[in-house]
């Protein structure tokens, strides 16, 4: 018999159920949507088979008081992270259901960040009811504090965008005036008109430079005050000098002014700053997101036996907490009572749930899968392993900040030469050649302007924009501005196993000697469970309807009458510590049947590894999974250097070791347990299916099943480096050629303007070669 899908969540139904729903939760959700007249949601909903189904779960009541902000006008606001938001229709459903409630003032979902901002009239009780309404549909909501997350970065980004807007406005308008002045040189524009144009340009440019130049002036001033120099010092001097000289030209009714150069330079540099800041803000966000996993609070069991919901920070070692099925554990501890399965993938990368029973150790951030547990807390708050991982990640990230860009490395050599050349020009013309000091100063300023690192400043950002555009079309997102430069230096690629070389979900191994009838029985039983192995078994036999009256014993197995399906011990066999994941089926009167599983590897992982080795890269495998599983995967992909059972700290050690040997490491990983290693590696990549935290810690995120993204990005990075070097060589050559001319006073102002813009143009055009549409 064909199995029907549940009308709400789409899960296959057991054949004996009268209703078209898999449970009460789904029935209620369907009713809610139907009542609101929104059943078109089901047509619009695009389900992602890899994502969690929208199955409503019984969740423990939570105290929202910690996160609700009550305002004076009787409204209250709450920010929530939404889990289960797969498509646009989900957001639409939540918004429309909430806004139809009379007490809701506004409900707005941000699709980029998957956050919901909810404002309503009334107190905390109404808020709880609204949260429950959304959760009844199958979404999970986690309250968080927006101020802790990203207020600082957002404020800085907005300031930069305002500067960018002002600079763009000024640049466009001054260019308009400049073009007419340039045309006027040949058509005989009168002096009065030209002066008017220059005065207008000055009126626009000077306030714009004062406003939009602040980020550069501030940074340059801070550097100078600490007796250091950075890229912002020559930029600031160049912009101020160009504006100052143009102003003096304007005052003296001179024919040439350079307000356009100064403002356009600011505009282009600000574009680079904005892109850079957007990428940098992510890591901090990741760490905050990680810590807020547990913000919702924990259910503490008091001495008198009553349960009470408390903030995580209120937990102390020795407390007992209740953790319901499907809930994240809020503190490190030992199981006091209960048997369940724990999803530890967040911390260890282990792909399969681990059974725990009384006495077993559990850690904050792990997900309790099958049955309620009581846990005796041993460490809470900042002492948990989870908090330790966040610290590791932040420390690793700040270590990364020491990387200096090619441009920054050039500056200490470039700027002193420029300043000394300008000073020497001034002294020569004033003292040796006997010119009046104004003429000497004008020549010195033209040296400064002509060396103004316009082409040098654009040489690298232009290439980065072209290369990241090309990668973006291939589904590869560059998040860090320096990643491309660093990728070109990489000589060692380290892979994580689960979710990186493999897709992270198990597959039933084919076995020609298997009894197909036994497989159908097993699949029928397995369909009732959400354990990953059981789901793989059910998926191997798609037509099979779910069996009735199956009971699940958490951590052991499933039973339907006398038929048992589960671990070795569950059917009475001794545990032999088998290398690969397996399930056993025992049916009375028949021989026991073994089902072995393997992790589905990405289709081209072996091919990618072979290419990398052929191209001269060292390749390693670093996994938190068990020894045998890692060894098998390493053999399959042809990786000789591998390490199993590595926890986050061990991965960091391994990376530190590689670095100590002078290797430049690219880390490819996907789990939270990889996050510190991702942050510590020279460059890091994550598949788009990875945990949010890994994605945010990585410099590069790639989409799709294929690992060829690793190949693509390494070859683009090499090409980009070649183009950057050409650009830098050209920019330096241009300066070397033009500066002597400026020093001896040959460079007339229009020539300086033409040289400056043509050099920038050449650099940009050269970079555009990278963005070619042709696939490599």
């Amino acid at each position: 018999m064909e199995s029907r899908p549940c009308r709400h969540c789409g899960a296959p139904l057991r054949a004996d159920l009268p209703d078209p729903f898999c449970g009460e939760g789904c029935a209620r959700a369907y009713e809610l949507i139907e009542e609101a007249g929104l059943s078109s949601f089901y047509d619009r909903f695009t389900s992602d088979p890899a994502a969690r189904p929208l199955r409503p779960e019984q969740r423990p009541a939570r105290d929202l008081a910690l996160n609700v902000t009550c305002r004076d006008d009787g409204t209250a606001a709450l920010d929530l992270m939404v889990d289960g938001l797969h498509c646009a229709a989900c957001g639409w459903l939540i918004e429309i259901l909430l806004t139809r409630r009379p007490e809701v003032a506004s409900a707005r979902i941000n699709h980029s960040t998957r956050r919901l901002r909810l404002v309503w009239r009334g107190g905390i009780e109404q808020g709880s009811a609204l949260v429950e309404l959304v959760e009844a549909l199958g979404f999970r909501l986690t309250p968080f504090d927006p101020a802790r997350l990203d207020a600082a970065v957002n404020a800085e980004l907005r300031d930069l965008l305002r500067c960018l807007a002002v600079a763009g406005f000024a640049a466009a308008n001054i260019m308009l005036l400049s073009v007419s002045v340039w045309a006027g040189h040949s058509t005989g524009m009168g002096q009065a008109t030209r002066d008017l144009m220059h005065w207008l340009s000055a009126l626009i440019a000077l306030p714009a430079i004062l406003y939009a130049g602040r980020p550069f002036f501030r940074s340059a001033w801070a550097a100078v005050r600490h007796r250091r120099t950075n890229m912002d010092v020559p930029i600031s001097i160049g912009v101020v000098a160009a504006a100052g000289m143009s102003l003096s030209e304007t005052l003296r009714h001179g024919p040439y002014a350079y307000f356009d150069s100064a403002v356009t330079l600011l505009f282009f540099l600000l574009v680079g700053r904005v892109l850079d800041l957007r990428a940098r803000g992510r890591t901090r966000e990741a760490a905050a997101h990680l810590l807020s996993l547990g913000i919702a609070g924990a259910t503490r069991l008091n001495q008198d036996g009553r349960a009470e919901i408390v903030a995580l920070s209120a937990l102390r070692p020795g407390d007992h907490i209740l953790v319901a099925a499907g809930e994240r554990i809020g503190a490190d501890g030992r199981v006091a009572s209960g048997i369940s399965d724990i999803d530890a993938s967040l911390l260890t990368g282990e792909s399969l749930p681990v059974p725990v029973e009384a006495g077993g150790a559990v850690f904050a951030g792990q997900l309790n899968l099958s049955a309620p547990l009581t846990i005796a807390v041993t460490a809470a708050g900042d002492d948990t392993l989870l908090a330790e991982i966040v610290r590791l990640m932040e420390a690793a990230e700040s270590g990364q900040a020491r990387y200096r860009r090619l441009a920054d490395r050039l500056i200490p050599y470039y700027t002193p030469v420029v300043h000394v050349a300008a000073l020497a020009t001034y002294l020569y013309w004033w003292l040796a050649a006997g010119e009046i000091w104004q003429v000497a100063l004008l020549r010195a300023v033209s040296v400064l302007i002509i060396t103004c690192p316009c082409a040098l400043g654009l040489a690298i950002p232009a290439v980065q924009v072209a290369a990241s555009g090309r990668l973006f079309r291939r589904g590869i997102l560059l998040k860090s501005a320096t990643a491309l430069e660093k990728l070109a230096d990489i000589d060692h690629v380290v892979f994580d196993k689960t979710g990186t070389l493999t897709t992270g979900s198990p597959d039933l191994k084919p076995d020609p000697g298997r009894d197909e009838d036994m497989l159908r029985i097993a699949a029928g039983i397995a369909r009732t469970s959400r354990h990953p192995l059981a789901r793989a078994l059910a998926a191997a036999c798609p037509g099979e309807a779910a069996r009735e009256s199956v009971c699940e014993v958490p951590g052991r197995g499933l039973a339907a009458g006398a038929i048992r399906l589960g671990a070795r011990a569950w059917i009475g066999l001794p545990d032999d510590g088998a290398a690969e994941p397996e399930m056993w089926l025992s049916v009375p009167g028949r021989p026991r049947q073994r089902f072995a599983f393997s992790e589905a590897s990405r289709p081209d992982s072996a091919e990618t590894v072979a290419w990398l080795r052929g191209a001269g890269y060292f390749v390693s495998l670093l996994s938190g999974d068990r020894w045998a599983a890692v060894a098998a995967m390493a053999a399959r992909c042809g990786i000789e250097d591998w390490q199993a059972g590595a926890d986050p700290a061990a991965k960091l050690d391994a990376l530190a070791m590689l670095k100590a040997h002078g290797r430049r490491v690219l880390m490819v990983g996907d789990g939270l347990n990889d996050a510190p290693a991702l942050a510590a590696a020279d460059v890091s990549m994550s598949p788009a299916s990875a945990a949010d935290i890994a994605q945010t810690a990585a410099d590069v995120v790639f989409q799709g099943e294929s690992l060829s993204a690793v190949r693509e990005i390494l070859s683009v990075a090499k090409k980009a480096r070649a183009v950057i070097r050409e650009n830098l060589a050209f920019a330096v050559f241009y300066n070397l050629a033009a500066v002597p001319l400026a020093v001896i006073g040959w460079v007339t102002p229009p020539l300086a303007a033409a040289l400056m813009s043509s050099s920038s143009l050449i650099v940009v055009l050269n970079a555009m070669r990278l963005a070619g549409r042709k696939a490599p």
Binding site: W92, L98, I109, N110, S112, V166, F169, L200
Partner: protein, 54 residues
């Protein structure tokens, strides 16, 4: 050349209007959710309380 006296202020006013519009958009959070706007137009608006007096 007198036409300049009219045209240049016109150009500046138009540019200034564009700048003001951008700054307003930035302040009012138009750039906060770039993904949502693309899909939002596919669906009916949630009812607007202020207009319908629910």
């Amino acid at each position: 050349m007198t036409s300049l006296l009219l045209l240049i202020p016109c150009a500046l006013l138009l540019g200034g209007a564009g700048l003001a519009a951008f700054l307003w958009a930035l302040r009012s959070g138009q750039f906060d959710d770039l993904d949502g706007a693309a899909s939002r137009i596919l669906f009916d608006d949630p009812p607007q309380k202020e207009k319908h007096h629910v």
